[in-house]
Symmetry: C2
Subunit: 335 residues, 2 copies
């Protein structure tokens, strides 16, 4: 089902990956599954649904509340805050370039954006709807949604969970941030990176970061990875990484304990705080922790600064979006 990479494998791979071979620019379009081709009407509907707080029990939380498309695709909080001020144990991952993840959620338990989109809506501490039937019942009386579903899905345009999550996923596939300084450098514009950023990039390769964080979204070649690989009492006492068992929380399998999706490094400068539990506030600390618990390396202040400078070069260009106008519920309240 997925690859488990040991530290040894990661280090071996790292040696084989050069800065040059890591230099893949971010595609400007994302592949879509055969049963959900990306169309303009679907993207438009998806953008509406994504930003509609009426998809939550209190009418206050939309997908965008935790995965903010006006910011780095998340909420800059240690843990996301759902309906009625409830919080869970995990930090919201960014929606930008999520189209390039092989699996979704921190623990990778969803195979697609479509599957992911269905989850938070009925999670009691996130959007808190009792069921997707309730969501459908809430959307059905909204005339503007009927029209938007018809435009997006033609003959099979019933308002259903399937169609709603397809539209949301189609919209998310457009949330791509190309043309970062790194991409321009990789495309041949040598001055796009500062000498410090180039040093940081080479250091990241040399250390082995790119063993797991390579490819255009810096989230491959594998899908899952053990974290933390090396036990570290000092960091564990501060950050409690191991309190959450990752994929094993879902599968209950010993081999899945502390297995996590390899997250993208794209726009990482904008998505503090860091790690699955948002326990590390700054990017330089996050880099030091990763070097230590994944690769067994102690970084100097200069090396850390260089790598952080490189990571800052992964901040891309955010597409100018139009603000969706959500269809109203004329003359009545939403619940």
């Amino acid at each position: 089902m997925f690859k488990i990479r040991s530290l040894v494998t990661a280090l071996t791979l790292a040696g084989a990956v050069s800065a040059a071979s890591a230099a893949e620019t971010l595609p400007t379009t994302a592949p879509a599954p055969a049963d959900n081709p990306t169309t303009e009407a679907k993207v438009e509907l998806g953008q509406m649904l994504y930003h509609d707080p009426r998809l939550s029990s209190t009418g206050t939380v939309s997908c965008a509340s935790c995965h903010n498309t006006m910011l780095g695709g998340e909420d800059n909080r240690p843990n996301a805050m759902g309906v009625n001020g409830q919080t869970g144990g995990r930090s919201a991952p960014t929606v930008w370039n999520a189209a390039f993840n092989k699996v979704q959620f921190w623990d990778g338990r969803a195979a697609s954006l479509e599957e992911q989109a269905a989850g938070p809506v009925t999670n009691p501490i996130e959007m808190g709807m009792k069921s997707w039937d309730d969501v459908v019942a809430r959307l059905n009386p909204i005339e503007g949604y009927k029209e938007a579903f018809a435009k997006a899905f033609g003959t099979d345009s019933t308002i259903t969970r399937d169609n709603a999550t397809k539209a949301i996923a189609a919209y998310e596939r457009t949330l791509i941030t190309p043309n970062s300084p790194y991409d321009r450098y990789a495309g041949g514009e040598e001055s796009a990176l500062t000498p410090q950023q180039v040093r940081g990039m080479n250091k990241a390769v040399e250390l082995g970061c790119t063993g797991c964080h390579s490819g255009p979204a810096f989230n491959g070649p594998g899908t899952f990875q053990h974290f933390p690989v090396i036990d570290n009492g000092y960091f564990e006492a501060q950050y409690h990484f191991k309190k959450d068992k990752g994929l094993a929380e879902v599968t209950k399998k010993t081999e899945d304990e502390h297995m996590w999706k390899v997250p993208t490094l794209r726009n990482i400068a904008l998505t503090a705080p860091y790690f699955h539990n948002g326990s590390v506030k700054t990017l330089d600390k996050a880099v030091q922790v990763m070097a230590k618990v994944q690769l067994g390396k102690e970084l100097s202040k200069e090396e850390t600064a260089d790598i952080v400078a490189f990571l800052n070069s992964l901040t891309g260009e955010f597409p100018q979006q139009k603000m969706p106008m959500l269809p109203g519920t004329p003359g009545n309240t939403f619940n």
Copy 2:
């Protein structure tokens, strides 16, 4: 400071206001105070601040959370929900066309949009910031805001409460919804209203609704009004209108008890539930309640439907906005 209209005055006025004289179209620009002229750079900054959840203690609530610019300018909730799921006793008024209110907040306690904008940010159950100094301390490290304030305010571009609220108010002055069917009708396009809507409009004038709800935003000629004027035990038992003393909650003056700003009727079809405490779910019930407790009139089902049809003609055209990209806090969390 403000006019108190008794029922008698309201009814007298109503008699004097004809459908023709009520026919004022909504201006497409709003007047600005001398010390805060509306400029493009200020509007752009204001739009960012308005949509930035980092202006709240939890980083989850922006002005737009309760005054949603993707919807009817509010949240369709009986009472607004602030940080940590807290709720107050009042319903969020719409931000659309708020520029045409003579005073702001339900109880009219703020004289300007600038003054209003400062309030919710430090209200413990709304955005929950301890002080504007804390807001400034949070915004100061964000490089993109420094640039946006400089662009908006030139030589005096320090990030301060004054400048932030000026920018937010400048943005809000652009939130105008012209060209409603009613406006087109008032401008001479007779077919813009259905015969039922014309009947409803004439009935509203005849009943005396326009004694308080006249002018381009249907929120004048006076500024404040007593509500409810006529005690009604049946409605009071259901809706508890009098539990909240309105302006007197602030001024502590007997003469201000149950005095409220006359709210605009623009886009009212999109802003259910109704009244200061959001206690009435539907527009037809709201119309019946108003007729009874303000004017002493019992409406038939047909009269109610006609007036509701007319009110639906006050839904305007919402300007296409670009979605603001909020400047990030590179490499660090917001708090």
